[in-house]
Symmetry: C2
Subunit: 509 residues, 2 copies
């Protein structure tokens, strides 16, 4: 039986491409974390060129030659019967062809133009957000939208051009699949939010909006990351405007966060969230670095890892049983006289808010649905970019009962559109659903998980995730992996049951 | 007459190569400043691949096609009479061919191997220095030396293989040229050092070896850089083990320094020194970015800029007339009761010391001569790597009268050999000679230069350097530029006169 050993030429080509990809990742990370302002234009030109080079490497003659020895380049069919290849090699060929096929749909010039536009738009978005001036950003966004529609046409689709874009982030996912799912979720979330609002129970987070020394916040975040077994010899954490995770190799994974002296929870949960992403990246195979077998499956599965750590673990009673005394020791002046229950409630307060990344577990998905609906209008219905602020604000009022006073707190809040990432947002909600289902399974399989978390022993959970999810890379599709790990297909009731139980207890509803 | 406009294809190829070069620079900068330790091996592989890619881009078909339209690739002769090209275009073709010719001497595999070896050796050197264990580093160094000898053979030379290596850093410079120059300098420096030692005058720097708050040191360094008109919107400063400057574009220039709480002068003068390098990089042509016309001439000329700012300016009475009161305001507890003269003397103390980068203006060049002599023994005479520590220590005793107690303070102190940079050290002394000659000229041409420096007005000097040196890139060779700016060939007496005058006054010798 033929194995991956028979695919060494192909693997070398992919690893060469990966070196360029990782350089691009570092240039992008640096752009967010350290680049002086004046360097933006040169960096944009450079990134555009390197993305073109990456694209050529991913689709060029060397790749074609190696891949076409085993696969029909037009259809993806194996040239010899699948039974001649072992499972791992089959997965490698399947996913490599998928990447190749997708990449060859986009002409090099197009890729280069999109790279240049998004790199420039990024700087403009930062300024527009700072100045609360949407019209500064609108011309860039308009060009990006036009390019993304062109991209959908290149990629091809059956029902909606949005499907083509979403498929890049969550392979196989479609508007037809997601729309009923989101509607069902909405029908559970809106009543839950309403009941909580009417409960009369207060879960105020004012105690975390006092001044918290930034350096001590930073150190506490690093302490939590180390208890999570995020490996700081093979990773680090830096400051950026918008928290993100970048990985250049499983031995070099970079988290970023922002520290607000008057919003401790935002800083801390950004660290934990990105730490979850980082653990996935550190847990990928080093042996298959650069190949699909050493790469995360999808953004939804990636997000399931960050949300599992952030919410299922980080906002649980068990987690704070361990960390509450430590937190009191680091910030004695802030937490004097505060008991565990008050702290736990402050961490789990549910209240409609303007900013997605700061919203609670219950309202979070309403933020995503709003974006999903707006993105469909832009991509499917040609909604003019100029109308975005109004539509945004109207939907905020309809779903969350609040209206942003500024576009900086509304339509300009997220980095995604400046990067051309349409179709990305739905993966956040998918991540929440996957996370609830995975964590439910971990509770069954890791003996005494809750007690272990209460004792600060997070290694068994991290190891379980390494074994069940991280190490497989893209060997299985997201839906296949979920079924393999949990013995069941995607089932949103794990998430809604979790919310109803946790917040039912907390808000007595 | 044909101009640069006729060379656009060629320029595009060079700018594409530059994007790769700048990515390599950022990866290297990150390796020194932020990379987690575990990332070293993957980074080495990545850098090796990208250096190969850069080499291919510099020598490949696109480059050959564009260049061969104007130049005979084997000889560098223009295909049409030189008189048909304007001076700028001629310079571009001359220097581009030089780079092409040099790069084609080295096979891609060789370049890749050298890149991998040096990247790995860098981490080993850091550990060896930390552990004061030369034998840890010796096997890596041995492989690098073998590769450098092979490189000299590839590049070709008439008299010494060392000439071939030095030519990469200081085009046209040879052992035959430098040896008598260095011997003459030595014959002036050894007596001066001896006279100063016997003068009985104390210029103790103990006052700068008290505890100086690192954050205030950092801020003071940035203040000095901004007075030098180093543009912090188009550059920044970070921490690293060994200070260096990296430029990714004139709008993105990175300085690094190290801050020692008990060695204020080392931190400060590292900042000023790298600031001088940084001003050169920020002053290069943006229009000709990526081409020889937007590139520094040589390491010697580069070093002249750092040394001019560090010594001619930064250690002068004029400079401290402006900065002494500011320093006292930032560190009142350290400088209470200290007068200007004591401070000035402490900054200009001459005493034989172990570490090159911390040595004074007079003894500095003896450190360089030692390295130059050792490098010749390694490259010309096959001195075994194992003998280096002993030879180093013997020469230290002969020239400076002191012997390192550890290899960390001796043969392991500099980063250069781990990077394969043999032939680099002599450019430091050339830089000192150029600096003295340039500064002498600036004093003639910038009206009231000394008074301006005393008033903290460093803009006229910075502008003079921009005009006379920076903006020309490699339009002229180092020796031609020097003659053009100063109306005279390289003349070491400007440097020795400067030393004898300054230290004669200070030490009454």
């Amino acid at each position: 039986m033929k194995t991956i050993e028979n695919l060494q030429n192909l693997i070398v080509v992919m690893q060469e491409t990966q070196h360029i990809t990782s350089a691009i990742s570092l240039l992008s990370w640096d752009q967010e974390c350290y680049m002086p302002k004046g360097g933006g234009r040169a960096r944009a030109t450079q990134l555009s060129y390197l993305k073109g080079l990456e694209h050529e490497s991913r689709t060029g003659r060397k790749m074609q030659t190696s891949l076409s020895e085993c696969v029909d380049l037009e259809t993806g069919t194996l040239l010899t019967p699948a039974s001649e290849w072992d499972e791992r090699a089959q997965a490698l060929l399947r996913e490599t062809w998928r990447d190749y096929y997708h990449a060859t749909r986009l002409p090099s010039d197009f890729v280069r133009t999109l790279g240049l536009e998004t790199s420039l738009a990024h700087q403009v978005w930062i300024d527009a957000r700072k100045q609360n001036n949407f019209s500064l950003f609108a011309p860039n966004l308009k060009r990006i939208v036009a390019l993304k529609k062109q991209e959908a046409d290149y990629l091809g689709y059956t029902d909606s051009p949005y499907d083509a874009l979403m498929d890049e982030y969550e392979p196989g996912m479609t508007v037809a699949h997601i729309t009923p799912l989101f509607e069902a979720l909405k029908s559970k979330l809106l009543p839950l939010v309403a009941k909580i609002g009417q409960s009369g129970v207060s879960a105020d987070d004012e105690l975390f909006r006092k001044f918290y020394d930034p350096q001590r916040q930073w150190d506490f975040g690093l302490k939590v990351l180390s208890v999570m077994h995020f490996d700081l010899e093979n990773g680090r954490q830096d400051h950026s405007v918008h928290p993100f995770t970048a990985s250049f190799h499983p031995t070099d994974v970079r988290l970023t966060t922002r520290v607000d002296p008057h919003d401790f929870l935002s800083s801390l949960f950004s660290s934990i969230h990105e730490g979850g992403h980082g653990l996935y990246e550190q847990g990928l195979s080093q042996e298959y670095y650069g190949t699909p077998l050493g790469t995360a499956i999808s953004l939804g599965i990636h997000e399931s890892q960050s949300r599992l750590w952030e919410n299922s673990v980080g906002r649980s009673r068990a987690f704070w049983t361990y960390f509450f005394p430590k937190l009191c020791a680091v910030f004695p002046e802030n937490l004097k006289g505060i008991d565990f229950e008050t702290c736990y409630r402050a961490i789990n307060g549910v209240r409609p808010s303007l900013i997605r990344v700061e919203s609670d577990e219950v309202t979070y998905n309403l933020h995503i649905m709003l974006r999903f609906e707006i993105e469909r209008m832009i991509i499917e219905d040609d909604l003019p970019v100029e109308d975005l602020p109004d539509i945004w604000n109207e939907k905020m009022e309809a779903y969350l009962g609040i209206r942003p006073e500024t576009n900086a707190d509304g339509v300009l809040q997220d980095v995604h559109w400046s990067g051309g990432a349409f179709g990305y947002f739905p993966t956040y909600t998918l991540g929440n659903l996957y996370a609830a289902q995975f964590f439910n399974q971990a509770e069954k399989e890791v003996t005494g998980l809750s007690e272990k978390i209460s004792a600060g022993d997070l290694l068994p959970l991290k190891t379980w995730l390494n074994e069940k999810i991280h190490r497989w890379g893209r060997q299985y599709s997201s839906q296949d992996l979920l079924a393999r790990v949990c013995g069941e297909a995607l089932n949103p009731s794990y998430f809604t049951n979790y919310l109803e139980t946790k917040f039912g207890e907390l808000y007595q509803v």
